[in-house]
Amino acid sequence: MTVLHENTESQTPASQRRGTARRRKPLRSSGYKVFRFAALVAVVLFLIAPLFWMLLASFKTNVDIYDAGKSFLFTPTAENYANVLQRNNYFVFIFNSFWVAFVSTALSLVLGVPAAYAMSRFTMHRSALVVLMARVIPGVSLLVPWYYVFSNLKMVGGFEVLILSHMFVALPLIVYIMMSYFDSLPVELEESAQVDGLTPIGAFRHITLPLSVAGMATAGILAFIFSWNNFMFALVLSGSKTKTLPVAIFDFVSYASIDWGGLMAAATVVTIPIMIIALFTQKYIVSGLTAGATKG
Protein backbone atom coordinates (compact mmCIF):
# COMPACT_ATOMS: atom_id res chain seq x y z
CA MET A 1 0.00 0.00 0.00
CA THR A 2 2.59 2.50 1.08
CA VAL A 3 4.74 1.64 -1.95
CA LEU A 4 1.88 2.12 -4.33
CA HIS A 5 0.95 5.36 -2.65
CA GLU A 6 4.45 6.73 -2.97
CA ASN A 7 4.51 5.83 -6.64
CA THR A 8 1.32 7.60 -7.55
CA GLU A 9 2.39 10.61 -5.56
CA SER A 10 5.74 10.98 -7.27
CA GLN A 11 4.33 10.52 -10.75
CA THR A 12 2.96 14.04 -11.27
CA PRO A 13 6.00 16.02 -10.18
CA ALA A 14 8.31 13.65 -12.09
CA SER A 15 6.60 14.21 -15.39
CA GLN A 16 6.56 17.94 -14.72
CA ARG A 17 10.26 17.88 -13.98
CA ARG A 18 10.89 15.90 -17.16
CA GLY A 19 9.14 18.64 -19.10
CA THR A 20 11.44 21.32 -17.75
CA ALA A 21 14.48 19.10 -18.06
CA ARG A 22 13.95 18.76 -21.78
CA ARG A 23 14.29 22.51 -22.17
CA ARG A 24 17.25 22.40 -19.77
CA LYS A 25 17.77 26.14 -19.47
CA PRO A 26 16.19 26.73 -16.05
CA LEU A 27 18.50 24.17 -14.48
CA ARG A 28 21.73 25.78 -15.58
CA SER A 29 23.32 28.09 -13.06
CA SER A 30 24.69 31.45 -14.14
CA GLY A 31 28.16 30.28 -13.04
CA TYR A 32 27.99 27.53 -15.60
CA LYS A 33 26.93 30.04 -18.26
CA VAL A 34 29.94 32.23 -17.58
CA PHE A 35 32.25 29.22 -17.63
CA ARG A 36 30.71 27.97 -20.85
CA PHE A 37 31.01 31.36 -22.54
CA ALA A 38 34.69 31.66 -21.55
CA ALA A 39 35.43 28.11 -22.68
CA LEU A 40 33.74 28.66 -26.04
CA VAL A 41 35.67 31.88 -26.63
CA ALA A 42 38.91 30.02 -25.82
CA VAL A 43 38.03 27.21 -28.25
CA VAL A 44 37.16 29.61 -31.07
CA LEU A 45 40.34 31.64 -30.49
CA PHE A 46 42.47 28.49 -30.46
CA LEU A 47 41.01 27.36 -33.79
CA ILE A 48 40.92 30.73 -35.58
CA ALA A 49 43.98 32.60 -34.29
CA PRO A 50 46.65 30.66 -36.22
CA LEU A 51 44.77 31.14 -39.49
CA PHE A 52 44.37 34.82 -38.71
CA TRP A 53 48.11 35.06 -38.05
CA MET A 54 48.85 33.45 -41.43
CA LEU A 55 46.54 35.95 -43.12
CA LEU A 56 48.18 38.90 -41.31
CA ALA A 57 51.69 37.75 -42.24
CA SER A 58 50.66 37.40 -45.87
CA PHE A 59 50.05 41.18 -45.93
CA LYS A 60 53.37 42.09 -44.28
CA THR A 61 56.73 42.80 -45.82
CA ASN A 62 59.49 40.44 -44.68
CA VAL A 63 60.98 43.30 -42.65
CA ASP A 64 57.71 43.68 -40.73
CA ILE A 65 57.48 39.93 -40.13
CA TYR A 66 60.86 40.05 -38.37
CA ASP A 67 59.75 43.00 -36.21
CA ALA A 68 57.95 41.88 -33.04
CA GLY A 69 56.75 45.48 -32.53
CA LYS A 70 54.75 45.24 -35.74
CA SER A 71 52.81 42.09 -34.86
CA PHE A 72 49.44 43.72 -35.29
CA LEU A 73 50.16 47.31 -36.38
CA PHE A 74 51.77 47.49 -39.78
CA THR A 75 51.13 48.93 -43.23
CA PRO A 76 49.51 46.16 -45.23
CA THR A 77 50.92 45.41 -48.63
CA ALA A 78 49.59 43.23 -51.43
CA GLU A 79 53.10 42.75 -52.78
CA ASN A 80 53.33 39.13 -51.60
CA TYR A 81 50.18 38.21 -53.45
CA ALA A 82 51.28 39.97 -56.63
CA ASN A 83 54.57 38.12 -56.34
CA VAL A 84 53.00 34.71 -55.81
CA LEU A 85 50.27 35.02 -58.38
CA GLN A 86 52.26 36.62 -61.16
CA ARG A 87 55.85 35.66 -60.89
CA ASN A 88 55.26 32.13 -59.61
CA ASN A 89 52.46 31.35 -62.01
CA TYR A 90 49.99 30.36 -59.33
CA PHE A 91 47.01 30.75 -61.64
CA VAL A 92 48.22 27.66 -63.48
CA PHE A 93 48.55 25.73 -60.20
CA ILE A 94 45.11 26.88 -59.10
CA PHE A 95 43.69 25.62 -62.37
CA ASN A 96 45.56 22.29 -62.02
CA SER A 97 44.31 21.75 -58.49
CA PHE A 98 40.79 22.62 -59.48
CA TRP A 99 40.79 20.42 -62.57
CA VAL A 100 42.26 17.38 -60.84
CA ALA A 101 39.90 17.70 -57.87
CA PHE A 102 36.87 18.29 -60.08
CA VAL A 103 37.44 15.46 -62.55
CA SER A 104 38.48 12.93 -59.92
CA THR A 105 35.41 13.79 -57.84
CA ALA A 106 33.06 13.55 -60.82
CA LEU A 107 34.46 10.20 -61.98
CA SER A 108 34.43 8.84 -58.43
CA LEU A 109 30.77 9.80 -58.12
CA VAL A 110 29.99 7.95 -61.36
CA LEU A 111 31.74 4.81 -60.11
CA GLY A 112 30.97 5.15 -56.43
CA VAL A 113 27.27 6.01 -56.25
CA PRO A 114 25.95 2.86 -58.00
CA ALA A 115 28.47 0.76 -56.09
CA ALA A 116 27.37 2.23 -52.76
CA TYR A 117 23.75 1.66 -53.76
CA ALA A 118 24.32 -2.01 -54.55
CA MET A 119 26.42 -2.50 -51.42
CA SER A 120 23.77 -0.89 -49.25
CA ARG A 121 20.73 -2.64 -50.78
CA PHE A 122 22.28 -6.08 -51.02
CA THR A 123 24.32 -5.68 -47.81
CA MET A 124 27.56 -6.55 -49.60
CA HIS A 125 29.69 -5.82 -46.56
CA ARG A 126 32.65 -7.86 -47.67
CA SER A 127 32.74 -6.10 -51.06
CA ALA A 128 32.43 -2.75 -49.35
CA LEU A 129 35.43 -3.68 -47.24
CA VAL A 130 37.53 -4.03 -50.43
CA VAL A 131 36.76 -0.45 -51.38
CA LEU A 132 37.18 0.86 -47.84
CA MET A 133 40.59 -0.84 -47.59
CA ALA A 134 41.80 2.02 -49.73
CA ARG A 135 41.21 4.31 -46.70
CA VAL A 136 43.41 2.16 -44.50
CA ILE A 137 46.42 1.33 -46.64
CA PRO A 138 49.28 3.83 -46.34
CA GLY A 139 49.55 5.68 -49.64
CA VAL A 140 53.33 5.23 -49.87
CA SER A 141 53.00 1.47 -50.21
CA LEU A 142 51.02 1.98 -53.40
CA LEU A 143 53.04 4.87 -54.75
CA VAL A 144 56.20 2.88 -55.50
CA PRO A 145 54.48 0.40 -57.85
CA TRP A 146 52.26 3.10 -59.31
CA TYR A 147 55.26 5.24 -60.02
CA TYR A 148 56.98 2.34 -61.75
CA VAL A 149 54.00 1.38 -63.91
CA PHE A 150 52.96 4.90 -64.78
CA SER A 151 56.46 6.06 -65.62
CA ASN A 152 56.83 3.06 -67.94
CA LEU A 153 53.58 4.05 -69.58
CA LYS A 154 54.99 7.60 -69.85
CA MET A 155 52.03 8.88 -67.87
CA VAL A 156 53.82 10.49 -64.93
CA GLY A 157 53.45 14.25 -65.24
CA GLY A 158 50.12 13.97 -67.05
CA PHE A 159 46.72 14.79 -65.66
CA GLU A 160 45.39 11.23 -66.10
CA VAL A 161 47.66 9.71 -63.51
CA LEU A 162 47.00 12.47 -60.98
CA ILE A 163 43.27 12.12 -61.49
CA LEU A 164 43.50 8.34 -61.07
CA SER A 165 45.47 8.66 -57.85
CA HIS A 166 43.08 11.28 -56.48
CA MET A 167 40.13 9.08 -57.40
CA PHE A 168 41.72 6.52 -55.15
CA VAL A 169 41.28 9.00 -52.29
CA ALA A 170 37.82 10.15 -53.35
CA LEU A 171 36.15 6.86 -54.21
CA PRO A 172 36.27 5.14 -50.79
CA LEU A 173 35.05 8.34 -49.17
CA ILE A 174 32.11 8.53 -51.58
CA VAL A 175 31.24 4.86 -51.15
CA TYR A 176 31.36 5.20 -47.35
CA ILE A 177 29.15 8.30 -47.25
CA MET A 178 26.69 7.12 -49.90
CA MET A 179 26.31 3.70 -48.28
CA SER A 180 25.11 5.24 -45.06
CA TYR A 181 22.92 7.61 -47.07
CA PHE A 182 21.25 4.78 -49.01
CA ASP A 183 20.85 2.81 -45.77
CA SER A 184 18.65 5.63 -44.52
CA LEU A 185 16.48 5.81 -47.68
CA PRO A 186 13.42 3.52 -47.37
CA VAL A 187 13.35 0.60 -49.84
CA GLU A 188 9.55 0.90 -50.07
CA LEU A 189 9.83 3.88 -52.44
CA GLU A 190 11.65 1.77 -55.03
CA GLU A 191 9.38 -1.19 -54.46
CA SER A 192 6.25 0.84 -55.11
CA ALA A 193 7.87 2.30 -58.24
CA GLN A 194 8.49 -1.25 -59.43
CA VAL A 195 4.86 -2.16 -58.76
CA ASP A 196 3.96 0.80 -60.97
CA GLY A 197 5.95 -0.77 -63.80
CA LEU A 198 9.52 0.51 -63.53
CA THR A 199 12.39 -1.96 -63.81
CA PRO A 200 14.74 -2.16 -60.78
CA ILE A 201 17.37 -0.09 -62.60
CA GLY A 202 14.65 2.32 -63.72
CA ALA A 203 13.54 2.70 -60.11
CA PHE A 204 17.12 3.48 -59.13
CA ARG A 205 17.45 6.05 -61.90
CA HIS A 206 14.10 7.77 -61.60
CA ILE A 207 13.34 7.46 -57.89
CA THR A 208 16.46 6.80 -55.81
CA LEU A 209 18.96 9.00 -57.64
CA PRO A 210 16.84 12.17 -57.55
CA LEU A 211 16.22 11.56 -53.86
CA SER A 212 19.90 11.23 -53.09
CA VAL A 213 21.08 14.52 -54.56
CA ALA A 214 21.80 15.84 -51.06
CA GLY A 215 23.88 12.77 -50.26
CA MET A 216 25.81 13.08 -53.49
CA ALA A 217 26.46 16.75 -52.78
CA THR A 218 27.84 15.79 -49.35
CA ALA A 219 30.03 13.06 -50.76
CA GLY A 220 31.15 15.17 -53.72
CA ILE A 221 32.10 18.23 -51.68
CA LEU A 222 34.08 16.18 -49.21
CA ALA A 223 35.84 14.26 -51.99
CA PHE A 224 36.68 17.57 -53.66
CA ILE A 225 38.18 18.96 -50.45
CA PHE A 226 40.28 15.87 -49.78
CA SER A 227 41.49 15.83 -53.38
CA TRP A 228 42.31 19.56 -53.27
CA ASN A 229 44.32 19.09 -50.07
CA ASN A 230 46.11 15.92 -51.16
CA PHE A 231 49.86 16.32 -51.08
CA MET A 232 51.71 13.02 -51.18
CA PHE A 233 50.34 11.58 -54.43
CA ALA A 234 50.76 14.87 -56.27
CA LEU A 235 54.29 15.29 -54.87
CA VAL A 236 55.40 12.11 -56.64
CA LEU A 237 53.08 11.89 -59.63
CA SER A 238 52.71 15.47 -60.82
CA GLY A 239 55.03 17.02 -63.36
CA SER A 240 55.99 20.64 -63.98
CA LYS A 241 52.87 21.18 -66.06
CA THR A 242 50.42 19.43 -63.73
CA LYS A 243 51.75 20.62 -60.37
CA THR A 244 48.95 21.17 -57.86
CA LEU A 245 48.83 23.94 -55.26
CA PRO A 246 50.01 21.98 -52.19
CA VAL A 247 53.12 20.84 -54.08
CA ALA A 248 53.67 24.34 -55.42
CA ILE A 249 53.78 25.82 -51.89
CA PHE A 250 56.24 23.18 -50.88
CA ASP A 251 58.56 24.24 -53.71
CA PHE A 252 58.38 27.76 -52.38
CA VAL A 253 60.37 26.71 -49.32
CA SER A 254 63.05 24.95 -51.27
CA TYR A 255 64.03 27.68 -53.70
CA ALA A 256 63.63 30.87 -51.75
CA SER A 257 65.60 30.46 -48.51
CA ILE A 258 62.34 31.29 -46.81
CA ASP A 259 60.41 34.27 -48.00
CA TRP A 260 57.90 34.20 -45.14
CA GLY A 261 55.58 36.84 -46.59
CA GLY A 262 55.41 35.06 -49.93
CA LEU A 263 55.03 31.67 -48.29
CA MET A 264 52.12 32.86 -46.16
CA ALA A 265 50.49 34.46 -49.20
CA ALA A 266 50.89 31.16 -51.08
CA ALA A 267 49.47 29.23 -48.13
CA THR A 268 46.53 31.62 -47.98
CA VAL A 269 45.92 31.24 -51.72
CA VAL A 270 45.61 27.45 -51.33
CA THR A 271 43.42 27.61 -48.26
CA ILE A 272 40.98 30.40 -49.14
CA PRO A 273 39.11 28.75 -52.05
CA ILE A 274 38.49 25.57 -50.10
CA MET A 275 37.37 27.52 -47.04
CA ILE A 276 34.91 29.57 -49.07
CA ILE A 277 33.46 26.37 -50.52
CA ALA A 278 33.29 24.93 -47.00
CA LEU A 279 31.49 27.96 -45.58
CA PHE A 280 28.77 27.79 -48.20
CA THR A 281 28.33 24.05 -47.86
CA GLN A 282 28.77 23.66 -44.08
CA LYS A 283 25.70 21.53 -43.60
CA TYR A 284 26.84 18.99 -46.17
CA ILE A 285 30.38 18.77 -44.87
CA VAL A 286 29.25 18.14 -41.32
CA SER A 287 26.82 15.45 -42.40
CA GLY A 288 29.51 13.85 -44.55
CA LEU A 289 32.15 13.81 -41.84
CA THR A 290 29.74 12.30 -39.35
CA ALA A 291 28.17 9.83 -41.81
CA GLY A 292 27.76 6.46 -40.22
CA ALA A 293 29.43 7.61 -37.01
CA THR A 294 26.35 7.39 -34.82
CA LYS A 295 25.36 3.91 -35.89
CA GLY A 296 28.23 2.57 -33.79
Partner: protein
Amino acid sequence: MSVLTPARSSGQSARTRANFSAWANRHRKWLFAAPAMIFVGLLIVFPLAWTLYLSLTDSQGSVRAASDFVGFENYLTVLTDTERFWPAVGRTVSFTLVALVCEVVLGMCIALLLWRPFRGEKWVRVAILLPLVATPVAVGMMWRLIFDPNIGFANQLLGLVGIPPQPWLSGQDSALPTTIFMDVWQWTPMVVLILLAGLTSLSEEPDEAARMDGANAFQRFFFVTLPLMMPTVIVAILLRGIDALKTFDILYATKGKGGGSFHEVETLNVYAYGLSFDYNQYGLSSAVLILFFMIIIGSMWLLTMRKKAGSK
Protein backbone atom coordinates in the same frame (compact mmCIF):
# COMPACT_ATOMS: atom_id res chain seq x y z
CA MET B 1 8.89 -5.52 -98.61
CA SER B 2 10.99 -2.45 -98.31
CA VAL B 3 8.75 -1.41 -95.43
CA LEU B 4 8.96 -4.76 -93.75
CA THR B 5 12.73 -5.09 -93.56
CA PRO B 6 13.49 -2.06 -91.39
CA ALA B 7 10.49 -2.89 -89.22
CA ARG B 8 11.81 -6.36 -88.57
CA SER B 9 15.30 -5.14 -87.78
CA SER B 10 14.02 -2.50 -85.36
CA GLY B 11 11.87 -5.19 -83.77
CA GLN B 12 14.97 -7.29 -83.39
CA SER B 13 16.99 -4.49 -81.82
CA ALA B 14 14.12 -3.74 -79.49
CA ARG B 15 14.17 -7.37 -78.46
CA THR B 16 17.92 -7.39 -77.87
CA ARG B 17 17.56 -4.17 -75.91
CA ALA B 18 14.80 -5.75 -73.82
CA ASN B 19 16.96 -8.82 -73.32
CA PHE B 20 19.91 -6.72 -72.29
CA SER B 21 17.80 -4.68 -69.92
CA ALA B 22 16.38 -7.84 -68.35
CA TRP B 23 19.90 -9.21 -68.00
CA ALA B 24 21.14 -5.90 -66.52
CA ASN B 25 18.29 -5.81 -64.04
CA ARG B 26 18.91 -9.36 -62.96
CA HIS B 27 22.61 -8.75 -62.44
CA ARG B 28 22.39 -5.15 -61.23
CA LYS B 29 24.05 -6.03 -57.95
CA TRP B 30 27.39 -6.77 -59.61
CA LEU B 31 26.86 -4.41 -62.53
CA PHE B 32 26.72 -1.55 -60.04
CA ALA B 33 29.38 -2.68 -57.61
CA ALA B 34 31.96 -4.21 -59.94
CA PRO B 35 33.40 -1.11 -61.66
CA ALA B 36 34.32 0.58 -58.38
CA MET B 37 35.67 -2.67 -56.97
CA ILE B 38 37.72 -3.40 -60.06
CA PHE B 39 39.13 0.13 -60.04
CA VAL B 40 40.16 0.00 -56.39
CA GLY B 41 41.25 -3.62 -56.69
CA LEU B 42 43.57 -2.87 -59.61
CA LEU B 43 45.08 0.07 -57.80
CA ILE B 44 45.51 -1.92 -54.57
CA VAL B 45 45.97 -5.63 -55.17
CA PHE B 46 48.59 -5.42 -57.88
CA PRO B 47 50.67 -2.77 -56.08
CA LEU B 48 50.53 -4.67 -52.80
CA ALA B 49 51.64 -7.88 -54.49
CA TRP B 50 54.40 -5.89 -56.16
CA THR B 51 55.49 -4.34 -52.87
CA LEU B 52 55.57 -7.79 -51.31
CA TYR B 53 57.75 -9.02 -54.18
CA LEU B 54 60.05 -5.97 -54.04
CA SER B 55 60.50 -6.45 -50.32
CA LEU B 56 62.18 -9.78 -51.11
CA THR B 57 64.67 -8.25 -53.56
CA ASP B 58 67.58 -5.86 -53.25
CA SER B 59 66.00 -3.40 -55.70
CA GLN B 60 67.54 0.05 -55.47
CA GLY B 61 68.63 2.91 -57.66
CA SER B 62 66.06 2.64 -60.40
CA VAL B 63 63.01 0.43 -60.04
CA ARG B 64 63.70 -0.76 -63.55
CA ALA B 65 67.20 -2.00 -62.84
CA ALA B 66 67.50 -5.76 -62.50
CA SER B 67 67.52 -6.79 -58.90
CA ASP B 68 68.32 -10.02 -57.11
CA PHE B 69 66.06 -12.07 -54.94
CA VAL B 70 67.38 -11.88 -51.40
CA GLY B 71 64.67 -13.64 -49.41
CA PHE B 72 63.97 -12.19 -46.02
CA GLU B 73 67.23 -10.27 -45.81
CA ASN B 74 65.49 -6.88 -46.02
CA TYR B 75 63.18 -7.79 -43.18
CA LEU B 76 66.16 -8.90 -41.13
CA THR B 77 67.97 -5.63 -41.90
CA VAL B 78 64.91 -3.59 -41.02
CA LEU B 79 64.01 -5.48 -37.86
CA THR B 80 67.55 -5.23 -36.49
CA ASP B 81 67.86 -1.55 -37.43
CA THR B 82 67.82 0.30 -34.13
CA GLU B 83 68.96 3.59 -35.66
CA ARG B 84 66.12 4.43 -38.01
CA PHE B 85 63.41 1.76 -38.07
CA TRP B 86 62.65 1.16 -34.39
CA PRO B 87 62.82 4.83 -33.43
CA ALA B 88 60.43 5.49 -36.34
CA VAL B 89 58.07 2.82 -35.00
CA GLY B 90 58.29 4.43 -31.56
CA ARG B 91 57.55 7.88 -32.98
CA THR B 92 54.64 6.56 -35.02
CA VAL B 93 53.12 4.89 -31.98
CA SER B 94 53.68 7.84 -29.64
CA PHE B 95 52.50 10.37 -32.23
CA THR B 96 49.31 8.38 -32.81
CA LEU B 97 48.60 7.59 -29.17
CA VAL B 98 49.28 11.05 -27.76
CA ALA B 99 47.42 12.80 -30.58
CA LEU B 100 44.47 10.41 -30.24
CA VAL B 101 44.19 10.79 -26.47
CA CYS B 102 44.39 14.59 -26.68
CA GLU B 103 41.92 14.74 -29.56
CA VAL B 104 39.38 12.45 -27.95
CA VAL B 105 39.55 14.07 -24.49
CA LEU B 106 39.54 17.63 -25.83
CA GLY B 107 36.98 16.67 -28.45
CA MET B 108 34.66 15.25 -25.81
CA CYS B 109 34.98 18.40 -23.67
CA ILE B 110 34.21 20.66 -26.64
CA ALA B 111 31.36 18.45 -27.82
CA LEU B 112 29.80 18.63 -24.33
CA LEU B 113 30.15 22.44 -24.40
CA LEU B 114 28.32 22.58 -27.72
CA TRP B 115 25.72 19.95 -26.88
CA ARG B 116 22.93 22.22 -25.67
CA PRO B 117 21.79 25.07 -27.94
CA PHE B 118 23.24 28.53 -27.28
CA ARG B 119 23.50 31.91 -28.94
CA GLY B 120 26.27 32.26 -31.51
CA GLU B 121 26.30 28.53 -32.20
CA LYS B 122 26.69 29.22 -35.91
CA TRP B 123 29.99 31.06 -35.40
CA VAL B 124 31.44 28.31 -33.27
CA ARG B 125 30.51 25.80 -35.94
CA VAL B 126 32.33 27.86 -38.57
CA ALA B 127 35.42 28.00 -36.34
CA ILE B 128 35.29 24.23 -35.97
CA LEU B 129 35.06 23.66 -39.69
CA LEU B 130 37.97 25.90 -40.72
CA PRO B 131 40.92 23.80 -39.46
CA LEU B 132 39.31 20.69 -40.89
CA VAL B 133 39.23 21.95 -44.45
CA ALA B 134 42.51 23.89 -44.35
CA THR B 135 45.15 22.36 -46.62
CA PRO B 136 47.53 20.37 -44.38
CA VAL B 137 50.68 21.55 -46.18
CA ALA B 138 49.58 25.18 -45.77
CA VAL B 139 48.79 24.45 -42.13
CA GLY B 140 52.30 23.06 -41.69
CA MET B 141 53.81 26.23 -43.20
CA MET B 142 51.59 28.41 -41.03
CA TRP B 143 52.76 26.69 -37.85
CA ARG B 144 56.35 26.84 -39.05
CA LEU B 145 56.12 30.63 -38.97
CA ILE B 146 54.27 30.69 -35.64
CA PHE B 147 56.76 28.32 -34.02
CA ASP B 148 59.85 29.94 -35.51
CA PRO B 149 62.23 30.36 -32.55
CA ASN B 150 63.25 33.91 -33.48
CA ILE B 151 60.30 35.57 -35.14
CA GLY B 152 57.43 33.25 -34.22
CA PHE B 153 54.32 34.40 -32.42
CA ALA B 154 54.48 31.45 -30.00
CA ASN B 155 57.67 32.77 -28.41
CA GLN B 156 56.33 36.36 -28.41
CA LEU B 157 53.37 35.08 -26.39
CA LEU B 158 55.64 33.23 -23.99
CA GLY B 159 57.70 36.42 -23.64
CA LEU B 160 54.61 38.29 -22.45
CA VAL B 161 54.30 35.95 -19.48
CA GLY B 162 58.06 35.89 -18.91
CA ILE B 163 58.85 32.39 -20.18
CA PRO B 164 62.14 32.17 -22.15
CA PRO B 165 61.89 31.35 -25.88
CA GLN B 166 61.51 27.67 -26.74
CA PRO B 167 63.03 25.93 -29.78
CA TRP B 168 59.69 24.24 -30.70
CA LEU B 169 60.11 22.58 -34.10
CA SER B 170 63.86 23.03 -34.22
CA GLY B 171 64.52 21.30 -30.90
CA GLN B 172 65.41 17.63 -30.98
CA ASP B 173 63.06 16.75 -28.14
CA SER B 174 60.40 19.36 -28.74
CA ALA B 175 59.82 18.80 -32.48
CA LEU B 176 57.59 15.73 -32.16
CA PRO B 177 55.35 17.20 -29.42
CA THR B 178 55.04 20.37 -31.50
CA THR B 179 53.83 18.41 -34.53
CA ILE B 180 51.42 16.51 -32.28
CA PHE B 181 50.07 19.89 -31.19
CA MET B 182 49.49 20.78 -34.87
CA ASP B 183 47.67 17.52 -35.47
CA VAL B 184 45.50 18.19 -32.43
CA TRP B 185 44.68 21.67 -33.73
CA GLN B 186 43.68 20.38 -37.13
CA TRP B 187 41.82 17.19 -36.24
CA THR B 188 40.18 17.72 -32.85
CA PRO B 189 37.29 19.43 -34.70
CA MET B 190 36.61 16.19 -36.56
CA VAL B 191 36.32 14.29 -33.28
CA VAL B 192 34.05 17.08 -31.98
CA LEU B 193 31.73 16.72 -34.98
CA ILE B 194 31.52 12.94 -34.67
CA LEU B 195 30.94 13.02 -30.90
CA LEU B 196 28.41 15.83 -31.23
CA ALA B 197 26.46 13.77 -33.76
CA GLY B 198 26.52 10.91 -31.27
CA LEU B 199 25.44 13.11 -28.36
CA THR B 200 22.49 14.61 -30.22
CA SER B 201 21.24 11.16 -31.19
CA LEU B 202 21.27 9.93 -27.56
CA SER B 203 17.91 9.51 -25.93
CA GLU B 204 17.28 11.84 -23.01
CA GLU B 205 15.61 9.31 -20.72
CA PRO B 206 18.65 7.70 -19.04
CA ASP B 207 20.16 11.11 -18.31
CA GLU B 208 16.91 12.35 -16.78
CA ALA B 209 16.48 9.21 -14.74
CA ALA B 210 19.95 9.74 -13.28
CA ARG B 211 19.16 13.40 -12.67
CA MET B 212 16.06 12.43 -10.72
CA ASP B 213 18.07 9.99 -8.69
CA GLY B 214 20.16 12.97 -7.66
CA ALA B 215 23.30 12.30 -9.72
CA ASN B 216 25.44 15.37 -10.29
CA ALA B 217 26.77 16.46 -13.67
CA PHE B 218 30.03 14.49 -13.34
CA GLN B 219 28.31 11.32 -12.21
CA ARG B 220 25.80 11.60 -15.02
CA PHE B 221 28.58 12.05 -17.55
CA PHE B 222 30.80 9.19 -16.36
CA PHE B 223 28.10 6.67 -15.50
CA VAL B 224 25.37 7.49 -18.02
CA THR B 225 26.48 9.55 -21.04
CA LEU B 226 29.97 8.14 -21.51
CA PRO B 227 28.96 4.44 -21.52
CA LEU B 228 26.19 5.22 -23.99
CA MET B 229 28.66 7.16 -26.14
CA MET B 230 31.28 4.40 -26.22
CA PRO B 231 30.33 3.08 -29.70
CA THR B 232 30.63 6.60 -31.15
CA VAL B 233 33.90 7.21 -29.30
CA ILE B 234 35.30 4.01 -30.80
CA VAL B 235 34.23 5.07 -34.29
CA ALA B 236 36.00 8.39 -33.75
CA ILE B 237 39.13 6.62 -32.47
CA LEU B 238 39.09 4.25 -35.43
CA LEU B 239 38.67 6.97 -38.08
CA ARG B 240 41.17 9.34 -36.49
CA GLY B 241 43.61 6.60 -35.53
CA ILE B 242 43.99 5.32 -39.08
CA ASP B 243 44.76 8.81 -40.35
CA ALA B 244 47.07 9.68 -37.46
CA LEU B 245 49.13 6.54 -38.13
CA LYS B 246 49.54 7.66 -41.73
CA THR B 247 50.28 11.34 -41.00
CA PHE B 248 52.63 12.68 -43.65
CA ASP B 249 51.78 16.16 -44.90
CA ILE B 250 52.37 18.13 -41.71
CA LEU B 251 55.55 16.26 -40.84
CA TYR B 252 57.06 16.60 -44.31
CA ALA B 253 55.97 20.23 -44.63
CA THR B 254 57.46 21.31 -41.32
CA LYS B 255 60.62 19.21 -41.14
CA GLY B 256 61.29 18.11 -44.73
CA LYS B 257 63.18 15.02 -45.85
CA GLY B 258 64.02 12.35 -43.31
CA GLY B 259 61.93 14.07 -40.64
CA GLY B 260 64.55 16.73 -39.91
CA SER B 261 68.32 16.56 -39.68
CA PHE B 262 68.19 14.30 -36.59
CA HIS B 263 65.07 12.47 -37.83
CA GLU B 264 63.19 14.08 -34.94
CA VAL B 265 59.77 13.58 -36.51
CA GLU B 266 60.54 10.62 -38.75
CA THR B 267 57.54 8.32 -38.42
CA LEU B 268 57.17 5.08 -40.37
CA ASN B 269 55.32 6.85 -43.17
CA VAL B 270 57.97 9.56 -43.53
CA TYR B 271 60.74 6.95 -43.26
CA ALA B 272 59.20 4.75 -45.96
CA TYR B 273 58.57 7.74 -48.22
CA GLY B 274 62.15 8.88 -47.81
CA LEU B 275 63.59 5.42 -48.48
CA SER B 276 61.49 5.15 -51.65
CA PHE B 277 61.59 8.58 -53.20
CA ASP B 278 64.53 10.40 -51.66
CA TYR B 279 67.00 7.47 -51.54
CA ASN B 280 65.50 4.93 -54.03
CA GLN B 281 65.99 1.99 -51.64
CA TYR B 282 62.94 0.19 -52.98
CA GLY B 283 63.66 -3.26 -51.56
CA LEU B 284 64.22 -1.96 -48.07
CA SER B 285 61.35 0.50 -48.19
CA SER B 286 58.99 -2.23 -49.39
CA ALA B 287 59.91 -4.32 -46.36
CA VAL B 288 59.22 -1.30 -44.12
CA LEU B 289 55.89 -0.77 -45.85
CA ILE B 290 54.79 -4.37 -45.47
CA LEU B 291 55.61 -4.19 -41.75
CA PHE B 292 53.82 -0.83 -41.48
CA PHE B 293 50.82 -2.28 -43.25
CA MET B 294 50.75 -5.18 -40.80
CA ILE B 295 50.87 -2.74 -37.87
CA ILE B 296 47.89 -0.82 -39.27
CA ILE B 297 45.80 -3.91 -40.02
CA GLY B 298 46.71 -5.32 -36.61
CA SER B 299 45.68 -2.23 -34.69
CA MET B 300 42.45 -1.93 -36.66
CA TRP B 301 41.67 -5.55 -35.96
CA LEU B 302 42.31 -5.01 -32.25
CA LEU B 303 40.00 -1.99 -32.20
CA THR B 304 37.16 -3.68 -34.08
CA MET B 305 37.48 -6.69 -31.78
CA ARG B 306 37.11 -4.37 -28.81
CA LYS B 307 34.17 -2.69 -30.51
CA LYS B 308 32.40 -6.02 -30.95
CA ALA B 309 33.18 -7.04 -27.37
CA GLY B 310 31.94 -3.66 -26.15
CA SER B 311 28.64 -3.79 -27.98
CA LYS B 312 27.72 -7.21 -26.59
